[in-house]
Symmetry: C2
Subunit: 217 residues, 2 copies
DNA sequence: CGCCTTAAAGTGTGATCACATATGTGTGAT
DNA sequence: ATCACACATATGTGATCACACTTTAAGGCG
């Protein structure tokens, strides 16, 4: 009864869960484009497994809202309407400022250094027009912070939002050019952190997300 | 191309999706107790289907956080620690006040009348000590409001929170007696709505959730 | 009577097949 | 050349079986 070796949010290490994690990060980091058709059997052969694990991983992503059904039961990466993308960003702002507030006291000097390193790589990626590197860096920058919140409830919700946000963000970036996303507020974030300004830190996070909202016009 | 008969958040009507919806509402309305073991094959025979749809429905609930793995890969209804239950209520307050704010202008006089009717049934359930009726009424009271927000992003997140919240809330109610939950703020909600007081409406929703937080001490 | 061993039942997972439906592609007739 | 019908392919879904593992129960031995 008391020998609980595994905590609550535990996932056994199976082929399906591995595939699920793999596809999740690929979606968050913009490896897929909105409208892409995701076929269960194609994913299966692509990863060298049978259809069963791929079927489960893909269907889990559908329940998470990362993939959707289109006509005739084909599964594809959703194309977010402008209103819906706006909604996602609005929800991101609400949740992520709160998560950032909870994370702030846990962030160490090592975290600050790593954030600055990631930000440097992000700027290099923007310079080089490497959208994939930008997406990966941006994802890791934010979630290095959010993980420090130690929130087992809000953090999964934020991940769900990124799962929907990733593909469309990549599309916007590639379509409008890397210059459109050049003025992120990551520097404000790290500077507020370095001077211990908690509310300024949260405001910088919110501003970074709001900047994405302004991209829509 | 333009003949898109089904919107984004569409789910085909299959045995698995039906079972999923059924189990979701049962969890939100407290039909299951924390710690209950959910067996795929048992669910299958219970609903007269094969193991396949039950397997998918149950695994979807796991990805949603409504069920968790315990030792030895058994799937069960999670027992929320006090800290985690507090976290869920904190997240509920944050998200549901926001959703309520968006829903407010859409609420009609008919909605108000229905809310008052539901509230009457809730009070009767508390009087009678019928915890199941209380849970069902409380769930429908809140989500009648939230559905009016027309939010396809925040609303699913709120549903995820209730999915985790339901079983533990039922346990608290049955353990501590119905009197402990007697002073909900539903009346404040309907009264604020009837006089067109949007912020008072949101405050009443927040107070209703905070009252649940105070139950934990 | 108690404890250890062993068999049985139950668990989720992976694999494979059958089925209904939708899509695409030829092929044939007009 | 163009349209229509039919076949082939690809899709997700449901069903069934085998497998590895855990828990439980029973049985036998000390």
């Amino acid at each position: 009864m008391e020998q609980q070796t595994q905590g609550e949010g535990f996932s056994p290490d199976t082929a399906a869960t591995r595939l699920h994690r793999e596809l999740r990060t690929r979606l968050c980091e913009g490896d897929f484009a909105p409208g892409d058709v995701i076929s269960i059997r194609r994913i299966a052969t692509e990863y060298g497994t049978s259809a069963m694990p791929a079927r489960e991983a893909v269907r889990w992503l559908v329940t998470e809202g990362a993939l959707v059904f289109s006509d005739s039961r084909k599964i594809r990466v959703p194309e977010l309407s402008r209103e819906r993308f706006q909604e996602v960003l609005f929800a991101r702002k609400s949740l992520e400022t709160e998560v950032s507030r909870q994370a702030f006291p846990w962030l160490t000097a090592e975290d600050l250094a790593e954030l600055e390193g990631i930000d440097a790589r992000i700027n290099a990626a923007i310079e080089a027009g490497d959208m994939q590197a930008y997406m990966r860096g941006n994802h890791r920058f934010h979630f290095l912070i959010y993980r420090r919140s130690h929130s087992r409830v809000l953090l999964p919700l934020v991940e769900l939002l990124w799962l929907q946000y990733g593909p469309s963000m990549r599309q916007i970036g590639t379509r409008w050019g890397a210059s459109s996303i050049a003025d992120d507020h990551h520097r404000d974030v790290t500077q507020a952190l370095s001077r211990g300004d908690r509310e300024g830190f949260c405001r910088a996070i919110a501003a970074d997300i709001e900047q994405g909202m302004r991209l829509l016009e």
